[in-house]
Every structure is written in C-alpha cells, then in structure tokens.
C-alpha cells in the first residue's frame, strides 16, 4: 500500500533520509521510533507529500507520490493525518473543522458531512463538543477531534506524527485508546511516537530509525526483547528505564 524504494532526501547538504526501503501493507499498523532528529517525521510527511523526496521512488495506493502527473489533492483525500500540535482550525467549530474537507474536497452535502462528523465524534468519545471551538477544549479532546477530522474523509491510510507528544500526561491515554480502537478495526496506520507501551501493544511492526536510516525493523515482541542494533539497544535502554 505504501512503498519506499531507495528514497533519499536532502536539506541542502544535510542527508535527512538515507536510502529508505520500506513496504507497508494494507491493514498494517507500523510504529516508527527513534531519537529526535532521526528523520521519522520527515519520512512520515513524505507519504502525503508534505515533504518532497530528492531521489528514489515512493508509491502510495499505486500512485507515484512525486510524479508531476499525480493529482496530489486526490491522493491526500485518501490519507488522513494527525499532527503533534493538532492543527485544528481555531476560527471554526468542532463540527466545521470536521465537515470542511468532506464538503469542499469530496463535495458531500452539508447534511451528509455533519452526519458523518457526529458519528466520528461519538466514536472518539466527545459527541457533546460539536459546537465548541478548539480553544474551549483540552489538548486530549482537541487531538481526538483531529482524529475524527481525519477519519471523516474515510481514508485508507492514517498517519500520526507524534500525536501525544504535546499532551499533558493524563490526556495521553484517551488519545491512545482511540488509536488502539482504530488499529483493531483494521485501519492502515503509520505512527511516529515515543509511546513504547502503545507500540508494544498495538504495532504489527516496529521501525527503528536513527540518522535518517532505518536501522532495524521487526515484530514488537522480538524487537523489544532482543534488539539487534547497538543504537537501538541504547535507545531502548534510555526510553524504557526511567
């Protein structure tokens, strides 16, 4: 469903992504971990072309993401994205936040879009916040709205870019619960996170990145019990023993 084929990316002289080869299948939940600045988020953001690649090939849903002929808006409608800082639209209500893209990009009727929005708000556990503005919600609630906003487009892939990193500790659980439920339903998910508990419990596969490279990947049970790479071992010892 997503395939990186020898993908490289440079920021000037800085080699952010080095020869990335990765294939993610339909229904798979892939969790990307690694130190800050290792290129995790950059790799994730390449999938819906928020970042372009310098060379190599990246195919999503059978479409070359960086091809000039690709209709990027059409591709993006099929890929939901959840950001670290939620990025809700502050001048719009929760309902408007969720219905905006379905009505504008998919030409759904207002009624249909609102019905879908209410369905997903129910699902993420905050049906009573329909008419609130983002500033009136807690961080955890905002992030759940952001997830509902992504789901309302009925995408085949959901990308999560450190979805809990900006949250107060007591709100992390409510967001992870929504993500776990989503994973159980068979959504294809790529998640960049530091939540090791979530990764262990939900991931089908762990990807460990450092310095722009994928150093190791495997099933969570194997990876956590017995990381092969020295740097992975070091990273795990730092994040797990505290």
């Amino acid at each position: 469903m997503i395939r990186f084929d020898s993908v490289n990316k440079y920021y000037g002289d800085f080699h952010v992504l080095q020869n990335i080869n990765l294939e993610i299948n339909k229904g798979e939940v892939v969790v990307v971990i690694g130190p800050s600045g290792s290129g995790k988020s950059t790799m994730l953001r390449c999938i819906n072309r928020l970042e372009t690649i310098s060379d190599g090939e990246l195919i999503v849903n059978g479409v070359k993401v960086n091809d000039k002929k690709t209709n990027i808006n059409e591709l993006r409608r099929n890929i939901g994205m959840v950001f670290q800082h939620f990025n809700l639209y502050p001048h719009k209500t929760v309902l408007q936040n969720i219905t905006l893209a379905p009505t504008m990009a998919l030409n759904q009727s207002k009624e249909e879009a609102e019905k879908t929005a209410r369905y997903y708000l129910e699902k993420v556990g905050i049906p009573d916040k329909v008419n609130s503005y983002p500033s009136q919600l807690s961080g955890g609630q905002q992030q759940r709205v952001a997830i509902a906003r992504g789901l309302a487009m009925k995408p085949e892939i959901m990308l999560f870019d450190e979805p809990t990193s900006a949250l107060d500790p007591e709100m992390i659980g409510e967001v992870l619960d929504v993500m776990k439920a989503l994973a159980k339903e068979g959504m294809t998910m790529v998640v960049v996170t530091h939540e090791m508990g979530f990764a262990k419990e939900v991931a089908d596969r762990i990807i460990f990145m450092d310095h722009g490279q994928i150093l190791e990947q495997g099933k969570p049970a194997d990876f956590y019990a017995n990381p092969k790479e020295e740097r992975a071992r070091l990273f795990l010892s730092r994040v797990l023993n505290h």
Partner: protein
Amino acid sequence: MIDFSILINNLDTYLEGFKNTIFASIIGLVGSFIIGVIVAVMRIAPIKPLNWIGTVYVEFIRNIPLLIIAFFFYVGLPAVGVTLSGFVAGTIALSIYTASFIAEAIRAGIQSVPKGQMEAARSSGLTYVQAMRTIILPQAIKIVIPPIGNQFINLVKNSSILGIIAGLDLMYFGDIVSSHTFVTFDVYIFVALFYLVLTIPLSLGVGYLEKRLARNH
C-alpha cells in the same frame, strides 16, 4: 483667537477641496488595497518569479518618497507624451505607494498564521486556493486589520501631496485661501480640522472592527 470668518467666507473653496480629498482617498483606499493584495499574494505564492516581482515592487516603491512618485506621474510622464491631471497623477501615486505598505502588512499577516494550518488543510485534500480562502485568510485578516487601518489613515493624510501638483484637494485650496487672504496660521488650522473629520472616524472604525473580530474565535 482663530478667525472663523475665514472658514465661513471661503467655505465653498474649502468644501471643493474637501470633496476632492475624499475622492482621492476613496480611490486610493480601494486601489491600494487591490494592488496590495495582488502584490502580497505574489510575494508568498509558491512561484519564484512572482516572488521576485513582488519583492522588487515593495522594496522599490516604499523606499522612494511619495512626492517623487507623484512628480514622476505629473511632470515625468508628459516628457514621454502622457499627460495626467494633478488629481489623477497624485491619486495613482498615492495608490501605488500605499499599496507597498499594505502588501507588507498582508504578507506578514498571512505568514503569521501557523504553518500547521496550511499543512492540515492541504493534507486533507484541499487545493492551495481553497486552503488560502477558508483557512489562512480568515485568520490573517484579524492580524492585518490594525496595520492596514494605519495605512489607510496615512493615505488620507498623504493625499495632501496633491496640493503640490495642482491636485485640487484640500491642501491645494488651503494654499489658495491663504494666498487670497494673506492669512497662514488660521487657514491651515481649518485644513487640519477637515483632515481630522476624515481620519478620526476612520481610526474609530478600525478600532471597532478590531474589537469585533477579536470577539469571535
């Protein structure tokens, strides 16, 4: 004491100038806003040559004295066969000069909207134009109202350069009243009062708009 008979005896002359100052201001307001929006969009659009043109416009125009721009249109263009009245030349100069400041205010406003807003909108499949219109501009407008309001107030005051190039505005007729009556101080006090009649409501209007926009999220 200020001699009000000057105002009363020359009221028609004052009002003629006042009327033309209002015209020049309204045309300048609309013209500079339209040019300003276009230049601002050129400066931020993801197209390099447009960025350059926008930057050259802003840096060139805002760093030349308004009076010289007005002279260019009034005494410069006739040299190449284009003759404009003082009013037309002055109003054009006023518009393109103020536009460079308005373009900068709008650009700064748009760029102060967090990058994540555009990313969220684009990643949900909206086009650049849709994202601009529904997400970025509505947020930018609140930030941009106060500086643009200031530019509009400046524009009304700067319209007094029309007086120097026979633009038939308030300043021009003020000079005429002064040369007829041999009074200077009082004549220009009344000129100033006429400008205040325009600028104070404008200033209050901007303040009101600012408060209203701040209220809704």
